[in-house]
């Protein structure tokens, strides 16, 4: 028997499984208060999912507010926080939208499908703004590289991201791959998508216009992703009901590709009033959000929903997280044209309801009303918690454990320095990522200007004018553990710097805040610190946060992951011809380091390799970052620079090595005066970049730096002819004066061997079960 509003009125005392659905007693009471009666089972299902941490942001909201409160004044922001994704003006009538989301837990359970549907979900967020998706990125974090769990999860995650993104035809232009013990049992799979549109094509998720029709289109609704709700449907209301539903969702990238094309056609044809993707919480979320953002009322006939599995109960249909579905609001005059275009793309569509002015979201099931709620109460006015937080008891001791020379012995001989460099560039975190990235299509769509391993991914938006955007995501969670306030800022400035060295001007910020349990006051403190640090820094750098995502409960038992506020920065470049690649090209070009190097090893990759984590992270210097950014953008625009690379993990030594490997051209460099070679080569001080300047531009460049107060130190020269005199005739060589000489082949060999050695040998067995899905 279906639990209807009438039944609920007549049976106020029916026991309901609110606790099994994750609701707290007071939350259940407030639902009863809102409705003036007990909820129906369908209403209970809706509230329980929409009021979950994941959908309601109940623990994070009070902290996330700062992103709005402290937002810098900018004309660039066309749509801000609160929509599916923020939208930024990039000039010439173009706008871009970008967002990053987590799919951590599903990817741990079923790596291939979890990661694949992570890409699918974020792409639908972007199309629901009216934008054409341009590219994806995938910040990934796993436990120790050689842990069995990492070997189980990583190949599937990578295959899933590739399998979905490649089949969808979106270039993958970057991401992250980080190994750290803190993620054992809790890998982080974040996915970012960026899209572009003309200003007039921006669309919002709102159900406007009484009598307009609500259309559900795309894949049919099946029983996936409703693990929790099946408790409700099968155990409480009908003991003989359907078996427990799988909580795993399976993606169909081909359907998503059709959905993209169909959606863009209906949007461009002017057939749509409002649009919303179906992600977490499925139809519950889409209908309540659309109604809440629009006229406030909606009538839905749930029995019209096209099903993949006829045995689904209405509660399950409301909650299903089946992938590749969208919801649009269409006027009655345009519905035929809308349906026609869906048909062209072989996408099924059905009108499931209409917009009303009743202020209620009413859902019927074969004539019975099973939901009758104020939509705002479901979608926007959920509970808000001010969770307690306090500084962890261990924080002071951790910060006091500085990696000084006495605490951690440092290499001092030339030979030891050489081996330190080799150890770093072959360590899993700094080794070549091509085992992963060669599984991703970076060429499709033909507008990829820069892609991994470049500092930023860069995409041409307008083929005529050369207008483009650059994106980077970053986070060093060790820094964030040492000091979450500074750690979030360090993630931001690294990303900001990556954009700038590529020649683009930073414009806007998105984030994916991955933390442990919000019920742990120490985790909550990390979260509060990180959000405050990020908001403060964005204000000072003048770039707004346009959106983001929070992922809590990343922990195993009592052990939370290191706080991981992944920050994505988007920049704009007027003409992609000015982009700065990381590979140097010209013999005789001069290698400069911009910025100051201090003795900063806490949380560094070198300390990590020694198994040490303690001290205070590198100093954040926002004015210096801003200046560095302006100089890098000007240098690229003025054609003074031929290559650049930011200095971060592994310091200058690793940065120049990466440039040489990318170019396959050698260089000679030296340690500047008055600095310890180890500190110069491997410290991770911020606000630094390497710039490569042709001799003809040197004067202009150094004068610009001097005039603006940026320290620019020449410390090397590109030279393809060093092999002969260093005993390696015919080879490309890097020479660090009076320290060491290494051939590029030697460096490449150790740099490229690491990931295949870890994952290549096992790739066959790991691949067996996924091969089914793999294209």
């Amino acid at each position: 028997m279906i639990d209807s509003v009438n039944i609920a009125r007549e049976s106020p005392d029916t026991e309901q499984p609110w606790a099994d659905l994750g609701l707290k007693q007071d939350e259940y009471e407030s639902i009863k208060e809102i409705l003036g009666r007990r909820p129906t089972s369908s209403e209970l299902a809706m509230y329980s999912v929409m009021w979950s941490e994941h959908c309601s942001y109940k623990s994070s909201k009070v902290h996330l507010r700062q992103f709005g409160d402290k937002a810098p004044k900018t004309d660039a922001l066309l749509v801000g926080i609160g929509e599916n994704a923020g939208v930024v003006d990039i000039g010439d009538g173009w706008a871009v939208t970008f967002k990053v989301e987590s799919h951590n837990h599903p990817s741990y359970v079923e790596p291939y499908q979890g990661a694949a549907t992570g890409i699918g979900g974020i792409v639908r967020d972007i199309i629901s703004m009216g934008a054409r998706p341009l590219a994806v990125m995938d910040p990934l974090r796993f436990g120790a590289a050689d842990a069995p769990d990492t070997r189980r999860v990583l190949p599937g995650v990578v295959a899933g991201i590739g399998g979905y993104g490649n089949c969808l035809g979106l270039p993958n232009i970057g991401g992250e791959l980080v190994f750290d013990e803190s993620y054992a049992g809790n890998p982080l799979v974040n996915a970012l998508c960026v899209g572009s549109m003309k200003h007039e094509d921006i669309h919002l998720a709102s159900a406007k216009g009484v009598d307009n029709l609500v259309v559900l289109y795309g894949a049919r609704t099946g029983g996936d992703g409703i693990g929790g709700v099946s408790v409700l449907a099968s155990e409480t209301f009908d003991a003989n009901g359907p078996a427990k539903r799988p909580s795993v969702q399976v993606g169909d990238p081909f359907m998503e590709k059709l959905l993209i094309e169909a959606t863009l056609e209906v949007l461009h044809a002017g057939l749509v009033e409002g649009i919303q993707d179906l992600g977490g919480a499925g139809i519950s979320c889409a209908t309540s959000e659309l109604a809440s953002n629009g006229e406030g009322g909606m009538q839905v006939y749930l029995d019209r929903v096209l099903l993949r599995d006829a045995s689904l109960s209405p509660e399950e249909i409301l909650m299903s997280e089946s992938q590749e579905r969208m919801c649009a609001v269409v006027t009655p005059e345009k519905i035929d044209a809308f349906m026609q275009l869906c048909k062209k793309w072989e996408v099924e569509a059905v009108v499931i309801g209409e917009v009303t002015d009743t202020g209620r979201l009413v859902i019927d099931w074969y004539g019975d009303t099973i939901v009758d709620v104020p939509p705002r109460s479901v979608a926007h006015d959920g509970p808000v918690y001010e969770r307690p937080f306090h500084r962890p008891s261990w924080q002071d001791a951790l910060q006091a454990d500085t990696p000084t020379g006495e605490r951690l012995p440092r290499p001092s001989t030339p030979d030891a320095l050489k081996h330190t460099l080799l150890d770093l560039i072959s360590s899993p975190n700094l080794a070549s990522k091509s085992w992963v990235t060669s599984q991703y299509d970076r060429y499709v769509l033909g507008n990829t200007i820069l892609a991994q391993p470049e500092d930023a991914g860069m995409i041409r938006v307008d083929e005529e004018s050369g207008l483009g955007v650059a994106i980077s995501t970053d986070c060093n969670s060790r820094f964030a553990k040492l000091d979450p306030y500074a750690g979030a800022q360090l993630a931001l400035v690294e990303s900001y710097r990556n954009i700038s060295v590529a020649g683009a001007k930073p414009l806007a910020v998105t984030n994916c805040l991955n933390f442990g349990s919000p019920e742990d006051p120490e985790v909550m403190w990390q979260f509060a610190q990180a959000t405050t640090g990020l908001a403060d820094a964005c204000l000072e750098l003048g770039i707004p946060v346009t959106g983001g995502n929070v992922s809590f409960y990343n922990q195993t038992g009592e052990n939370a992951i290191s706080p991981t506020p992944v920050v994505g920065v988007l920049g704009v470049i007027n003409n992609v011809e000015h982009r700065t690649p990381m590979a140097w090209a010209g013999d005789g070009d001069l290698i400069y380091i911009l910025g100051d190097t201090a003795d900063e090893f806490a949380g560094s990759e070198w300390a990590h390799l020694q198994g040490h984590l303690g001290g205070l992270p590198p100093k954040v210097d926002l004015p210096a970052e801003k200046l560095l950014s302006e100089i890098m953008v000007a240098a690229s625009h003025e054609g003074m620079i031929t290559a650049a690379h930011d200095v971060s993990d592994g310091g200058v030594g690793v940065a120049v090595t990466e440039m040489a490997l990318r170019a396959n051209i050698g260089a000679r460099f030296w340690i500047p005066e008055n600095i310890d070679p180890f500190v110069f080569l491997f410290s991770e001080s911020t606000a630094r970049a390497i710039a490569v300047i042709p001799g003809t531009e040197e004067l202009r460049f150094s004068e610009m730096c001097a005039a603006r107060g940026m320290r620019a130190t020449r410390f090397g020269v590109v030279d393809s002819g060093l092999g002969v005199n260093s005993g390696h005739p015919g080879e490309q060589v890097i020479v660090c004066d009076s320290q060491f000489t290494l051939t590029i082949d030697q460096l490449r060999e150790v740099n490229e061997a690491t990931l295949p050695a870890l994952f290549g040998g096992e790739k066959c067995s790991a691949q067996v079960s996924e091969s089914y899905w793999d294209q």
């Binding site: 299509d441 033909g446 793999d774």
Partner: protein, 226 residues
């Protein structure tokens, strides 16, 4: 007026915009063809682009060969229409039996995207006449099922008849028999190629511009045609 080259879009085609761009860069006019078309709109040649037609769920290209537009392409190809199948297009041509053999899952079982060195082995087709014989080029390769397989007899015949148009240089990227990267039919007008020349037509976006001659070749060949 420049020659009109059709680019077929199947549901799931991905590199169709790129193929059209490459045709324009080479100086031709790109004409969009839809999988359901029952008319080739008078095009002088056809490109079947890369992607995952119909999701490639069954076997790459297996469903696309039954598309209405394909029966026209198959008929015209048999009487000399120049057709280039790139990646998924190559798979469709094999499934359609316009070309012998088949493309199978990469031997290492991964999708692979990389800049690939090739050697041009035949300049006797309308798609390769602008190259020098033996010329080495670098263009992107990106596929999950790119291993060319055929019987020994067929392979011998392909080599003997000068119908292998390009071979992989360096490490074999996907287990292709005898390093075959591309082949033609007996008449030479139908060419299938696994790597993607349309992604090597601009220095800003490609590793090289070595892909351009595939498209200038066909434009040249069409000037000579009646």
């Amino acid at each position: 007026m420049s020659a009109r080259i059709g680019v077929v879009t199947f549901p799931g085609s991905l590199d169709d915009v790129d193929a059209a761009r490459a045709i324009r860069i080479a100086g031709g006019t790109a004409v969009a063809l839809w999988h359901g078309d029952t008319d080739l709109h008078g095009v002088d040649a056809v490109v079947l682009p890369g992607g995952f037609s119909y999701g490639d769920y069954l076997r790459c290209g297996a469903i696309a060969k039954f598309a209405p537009v394909m029966s026209l392409v198959i008929d015209k190809a048999q009487v000399g229409l120049p057709v280039l199948g790139i990646c998924n297009g190559f798979q469709i041509l094999c499934e359609s039996r316009l070309l012998p053999g088949a493309l199978t899952r990469n031997d290492h079982q991964h999708f692979i995207c990389r800049d690939q060195r090739l050697r041009i082995e035949s300049t006797d087709t309308p798609w390769t006449m602008d190259f020098a014989l033996g010329q080495e080029i670098v263009i992107p390769l990106k596929n999950g099922e790119g291993g060319y397989v055929a019987s020994e007899v067929v392979l011998d015949e392909l080599f003997a008849e000068n119908r292998v148009i390009a071979t992989y240089q360096g490490e074999n990227p996907n287990g292709s028999y005898r390093n075959v990267a591309g082949i033609s039919n007996k008449a030479g007008n139908v060419v299938g190629l696994m790597p993607h020349p349309e992604h090597a037509v601009e220095l800003l976006t490609g590793p090289t511009i070595d892909g351009v001659p595939f498209f200038t070749s066909v434009l040249k060949s069409l000037i000579g045609a009646p």
